[in-house]
Every structure is written in structure tokens, then in C-alpha cells.
Symmetry: C2
Subunit: 297 residues, 2 copies
């Protein structure tokens, strides 16, 4: 579970993303990659996977939809109603489909006029690591568990910007479930690895405390708790773009999903990397010419 | 653009998917992979990518959502209203979000009670290759173009079955745009490669003509055209599961998206692989023990 700062963004070099070979920005808040930008995407994710491997994290590949019932255990819909995207299908009765087809499915503005929809019971993945807590629910862990996944995540925002703020984006996470000490040691080790890497390649990153983007934060007890006792530290590029974060969840997910470790609710934490934002930081700082990029190992 | 047969499915060996290590089936029609099944997933896709590379196909990574306006050019909503999944978000006004939060977002059946939704202008990718025709619209091709992508595709069905019929699944496609002869040569070469591979590893596959799953096919002129002049040939495992297909689109997409080649609407064709269905065929035919799997190169 990670967030990124909501401030407007500046860049060191001003790149015209529409002219970058192998990159395409879509007005609906998404990116297409091929050529050199795709190679950079793949190299970055291989680097994250290497770091995951160093911590013994087993890779998983999760699907797009998460049952709403599972997220409801986290009170997700009251905390982040502004961010969620729901997968909706049409009521499958012949009559309803025929009514949809007979009408004009699309109006002049390009908006769809749905007929009756089927019951909605799922959401599009909002954060990669949720899948793990759901999958491991009711487990009693005999040792700490280290896992990793890259998932396409979905967050509706009021504006989008190429690579920086997208409706759908790629999130790599390395997750640990264990005792408080096991999770803290994992996070400290992970942060040291990433910090060393930034130093080695010379990418200017500041580490800053942050909070999740709650709906009506002033009314949210969870937000207030995060303010009082910071659990999220972001890797902030250029003073305004969080390209990743280190998150200590305490026993929040362990309790919600009844995962135990050493006789108590499991603690958990994750190190999260926003792949598109890493690409943004790389291209902005090192330039769009591959020859100027640091070696990624 | 590819379809799979709508018949009920049998299997050679009856595998209890709930007991297969590294595999997890979700009731909402999706799969999670880790361990050996994930390795098989990755090896299969590397094989498809190798075949794509042999045809000089450049890799692309596309996002999840496609603007409805683009698919409407294909009369998609009238042809396949029963298959589509729409990404829906809440109307972002404070009052509307507050109303959603105040209500019970989830009822006892696990269904979400949405408040007012924001305008719906996109769909979740129904077939990987659509992205290419949209991206290349209005282009005049000086030579045939070969491209490949793997995309998560979404099709609502009236029932789901592990790896065989999923709401979301992985589709690798190798696509050619060019003259009719260029596309036919590409499809013939691709089919020969795949056919040789099936023979080499001993996977029982029959090639069968098929049609796309149109809504009310008897009333669809496009369906009737496909019946009269077959353009889709499926790789059918075990007599009932299409694990891939070879598709000749004629100049259908070239015309709809104004892509030209040699002074006329471009022709196009694709070779499509359903990754989860390949995994099903492999595990069913060669067993769940890795040691029994053929080498995938």
C-alpha cells in the first residue's frame, strides 16, 4: 500500500513525451512502451526482481480483479472511494443486451450509455500487495515470508500526466510478513540497498515521510494515526515525485486477514516501486539517449 | 482478434486445480501463478516471443483501457455487447463520494452499491491486437509491419473454468500488417512454425475453422461472412479447447483505421496464443510434474 504526493510536478529537463520514440501517452491516463523505453521498463523491473531475489522473495503473478468483499475488510471503500475503478459488465439477459445494442451505445462525447449492469462484486487492483494478504489469509506463518509481484494498479485521479500520474500503472512490490522485528529488518535492508543504488548511479532522491491519500483525511482516524506515527517513507525525485516507498503496516493486514506469526497477528511491510515513475526519473535526469543511462545491475 | 469454442470442456487427466502447488483459481474467473506454474507461464511466453523475433516483430506493452470511441469504429459494441467489461469510477463530486461512503457500499451478497458514476468512455482490452490498429491509424506503410504484444484481455462469460475460460486472461499475439500476400505469407510461416512445434513435442492439436462469438450471430452479416469464407483457424487441444488461432482479417482493420499499404487499405493478420490455455494443455497432457514437460525452445 503506497501513495504518491499530490503536488504539481516539475521536471529537470522538459521532455516532449509525444516525440519520444517508443513512447506514447494516452489521454485516458496511460502509457504504451516499445523500443528503448520498453527496454528500460524491463531492465528496471529486472533490477527490482534481483533485489527481491536477494531477500529470498518468491515471485507471484496476480490477476486484475480483487473481490470487493476482501477489500471491504480494510474499510477500503470508505477510505479511498475517490480512487477506485470498478469492472462493470452488462446484465446478460438477451433483452437487456438487445436494448443496449438498439440504443446508441456511444454518445457524441464518446461516453457509453450502458443498459442495466450485472451485479458489481470486484474492483481493479488498487495496490499490488493486497493480493498477498488476501491469498495468505488464515495462515499461521512458521517463519517470515518474503514475496514479490508486479501488478498493473488502477487509481482514478482528477488529472493525469505522462509517466507521473496515470489511471493505470505498473507497481513492483517486495513484501515481508513476519514479526515486527523481522519486518523492520527487511525494510531497513531493502532501504539500504535502494539508497546505495541511488548513490551509485547519482540519482537525486530524498526520503520523505508521507501518508496515504485518504478521502476526507481530517475525518479519518487512520490518516491521523499515520500523521502521528509515520509508517510510509517515500523516495522522492526532484523534490516532488515519489518513485517508490518503504511501508511499515504494523499488524494491520495480519489482523484484518487473520494471518499470524509467532502466536500473534503478523506484521507486514513492503518496498514499492512505481515503474513508470522510475522511467520518468531516469529519462528526466539522465536524458532520453540510451548511451547516457547508468548500467542497471 | 480471436475466439475460442463455446463447447463444454473435457480433460485427459482430471487435475484438481485447487491442489496444484503454485496455482490458485479464483471464483471470479481468474488465476494466480507462482512456483512451477509461473515458470511454465514465463517459458511459454518466451517461446512465443522467440517466434515473434524470428518474424522480426517488435515488442510493445499496451495499457489496460481502450477508448470506447476507437472500438466503436469496429461496431464492437453491437457485435460483442455480452463480452465487454467497462471500467467505471464514481462521480468525483464530494457530495457523491460522501453519499457512497455513508451508504453501505457492500450488500450482504458482496455486491457494490455504486452512487452516481463518472462518464464511461473506455473498455478493458478485449483482444490484444486492437491496440496496434489504433496506434497505427492513418499510417501509410512503406513495408509490411510485424509487431507483437502480450496483453491481459477481458471477456465476460456465463461460466468460468480454471485456465480454460477466464474473465481475465493473457493473450500473446504476433501481428502483420501489409498487402494481402505479405499477410498470407506471414500467417502460413507462423502456422508452419507452431505446427512443427506441436509435432516435435507430441501435443495433440487439430486445426479447425472457427468464427468469432458474435451477439445474435444469425442476425450478424459479419458472422455470415466468416461462415462463408473462413478467416479463423484454431489450434484445438483435446478436441474442445482452442489454445490459439491464426486469423486473417482481410483489410477490415486497415479500412476502419485508415492504414494503407501499397496504395490500398492494409491487410492484417495475427497469430494468437492464450497463455493460460497453453498451460492447461501442457499440464493436462504432460502432467503436473515438471520433469515430464518437454523442453520449450
Amino acid at each position: 500500500m503506497k501513495t504518491f504526493l499530490g503536488k504539481p510536478m516539475a521536471s529537470e529537463r522538459s521532455i516532449d513525451w509525444n516525440l519520444l520514440p517508443g513512447y506514447r501517452w494516452h489521454e485516458n491516463g496511460q502509457s504504451t512502451f516499445s523500443g528503448a523505453p520498453l527496454k528500460l521498463y524491463q531492465k528496471l523491473d529486472r533490477l527490482f526482481l534481483q533485489w527481491a531475489g536477494e531477500r529470498g522473495a518468491a515471485e507471484h503473478r496476480f490477476p486484475t480483479f480483487i473481490p470487493a468483499r476482501e477489500l471491504d475488510r480494510l474499510d477500503y471503500f470508505r477510505s479511498f472511494p475517490h480512487l477506485v475503478t470498478f469492472p462493470v459488465t452488462l446484465d446478460p439477459s438477451k433483452d437487456n443486451l438487445a436494448a443496449f445494442v438498439r440504443g446508441a451505445p456511444l454518445d457524441d462525447a464518446g461516453h457509453l450509455q450502458l443498459a442495466a449492469s450485472a451485479p458489481i462484486a470486484d474492483v481493479l487492483t488498487p495496490a499490488a500487495c493486497y493480493h498477498f494478504y488476501i491469498q495468505f489469509q488464515d495462515e499461521r506463518l512458521a517463519q517470515p515470508r518474503y514475496v514479490t509481484t508486479r501488478a498493473t494498479c488502477f487509481r482514478r485521479e482528477d488529472h493525469y500526466a505522462p509517466l507521473q500520474r496515470q489511471w493505470s500503472f505498473s507497481m513492483r512490490e517486495i513484501v515481508c510478513l513476519g514479526t515486527a522485528d523481522e519486518v523492520k529488518a527487511f525494510l531497513a535492508g531493502g532501504r539500504a540497498t535502494v539508497e546505495g543504488f541511488f548513490k551509485k548511479i547519482g540519482l537525486p532522491i530524498e526520503w520523505q515521510n508521507a501518508t496515504d491519500p485518504f478521502f476526507e483525511p481530517a475525518r479519518s482516524s487512520k490518516y491521523l494515526m499515520q500523521k502521528l506515527d509515520p509508517v510510509k517513507i517515500e523516495m522522492v525525485f526532484n523534490g516532488d515525485l515519489a518513485i517508490g516507498s518503504v511501508n511499515f503496516h504494523r499488524n494491520y493486514f495480519g489482523e484484518a486477514f487473520r494471518i499470524t506469526r509467532a502466536g500473534a497477528d503478523a506484521y507486514s511491510g513492503c518496498i514499492a516501486f512505481g515503474v513508470e515513475r522510475w522511467i520518468f526519473a531516469f529519462l528526466t535526469h539522465f536524458g532520453t539517449d540510451e548511451a547516457g543511462w547508468p548500467v542497471l545491475t
